[in-house]
């Protein structure tokens, strides 16, 4: 059942997609919100994960189609699974 649901999410593009271009640019599609953005840290919430991007001179560009581009000198990307509080 869960595999089927995962498959549907993938087929209907309901999952977030993270594209990394060298260490200069990250494109994140299907985001839900931006938690934080400063020069060194950008925190973004996608469907199931929280994505942390650490680096230097980071700038963020968002588009109306729930897409975000983070540019700058990227040091690390951390993807943390979000837990739903009961």
């Amino acid at each position: 059942m869960f595999d089927f649901l995962d498959k549907i999410k993938r087929e209907f593009y309901l999952t977030s997609q993270v594209s990394v271009l060298d260490n200069n640019q990250i494109l994140i599609e299907n985001c839900k919100n931006i938690l934080e953005c400063n020069e060194n840290l950008v925190r973004i919430i996608s469907n199931r994960f929280e994505i942390e991007i650490w680096g230097r001179e980071l700038v963020l560009t968002n588009y109306a189609s729930n897409t975000i581009i983070v540019k700058g000198k990227i040091d690390s990307i951390t993807i943390i699974e979000r837990r739903k509080d009961s």
Binding site: I34, E36, E39, V59, L60, T61, N62, A64, K71
Partner: protein, 385 residues
Amino acid sequence: MNFFAGKIDFEIKGDNLSRLISEIFKKGLECRNLVNYGECLKGSCNKSVWKQLAYECEKLNLSYEFNERKSLNLFIGKLLKRKGLIAGFIAGFVLLTFLSNTFLRLRVKCENKEIQDKIETYILSKGIDYGDFIPEIDIYGLELDIMREVEEVSWAGIYITGGTINVDIVEKVTKPEYNQKRLPSDIVALKSGEIVSVEIYSGKLLVPVGSGVHEGQTLVSGIVDLSEEMTVLRRSQGKIYAKVTYNESFYCPYENTEKLVSKTPEKKHYLHFFSLDIPLSIKDYDGMYQVKEKYKPLMFLGNELPISYKTEEYYKYQYKNTTFNEEKATEEVYKLAENFKDNFLSECEILEENEEISIDEEGVRLDKTFVVIENIALEKEILIK
């Protein structure tokens, strides 16, 4: 898009910046280069997005500063505030449209200056004047009229460039003068006189040497009888020298009125615009003057403008009474006689020259008689019916 719409660089300060960022994302407000420097959020967005963003800032009690970057919209907005520029632009556009449809200049392309002047005069005499509206001029009709009515023109083409009417002309090839070498002719006397000598190359001499002839008399005939049955017509050629008498009278009065014209003129300048003369000075000249007009068209990049600089040259003249004494008057009449000889008798051999001078109360008269030998032969065509 940024070129047309423009871009706003903003700086937002306050406590609720994280909430603002959240709102930005939720409402799909597209921003670029967003960076949160602790208590300051910097970024850029479109003008249309900024309005909504400014509204959100105000809702969250955040202060903001923004800077609009140069764009076409901004430029047009600034331009619209300067109404003088817009008025000037519209006026310039109207003036250019008016001038390009107004007859300002006529250019005739023809190598012969006389034909060029004739065509210019002809076109202007057809009721077409400087300042007329070009679309109302019947160009095709004018071409036909020129070809029909100006004899020297074989073909005429008219085209318009801006405010100039250009006329291309192809001249007619003139026929060479008909050579009458083969036409039979007689020789008649040009003047009355006594024949002194003859040189006949062809034709039949009718009048012997030594006889007197009157003006118009046939001296050599082109109708030659070769035999009783055969008569031919020939061109008569030759020279007939005769003694001719000229009786001339020359008179010089003691009191003479002479017109003296000054050599240096007074000048008055005008600006000639279409057919209007705008004076450039307020000078006025009283008295008797001979006036000459000169036009100098103004040039712009090698092209003549319809505005020209007109100069009127005023040559003052006066009548001067000259008084001669007898000696001076006599000298004058002899001068006149010499001029006559130089002008009319230079090619003749003067045999005799008699003179009679008479002096009265009013002047001196010189009556001169010249007896000269000159060629009085004149060729006259025989008309064949």
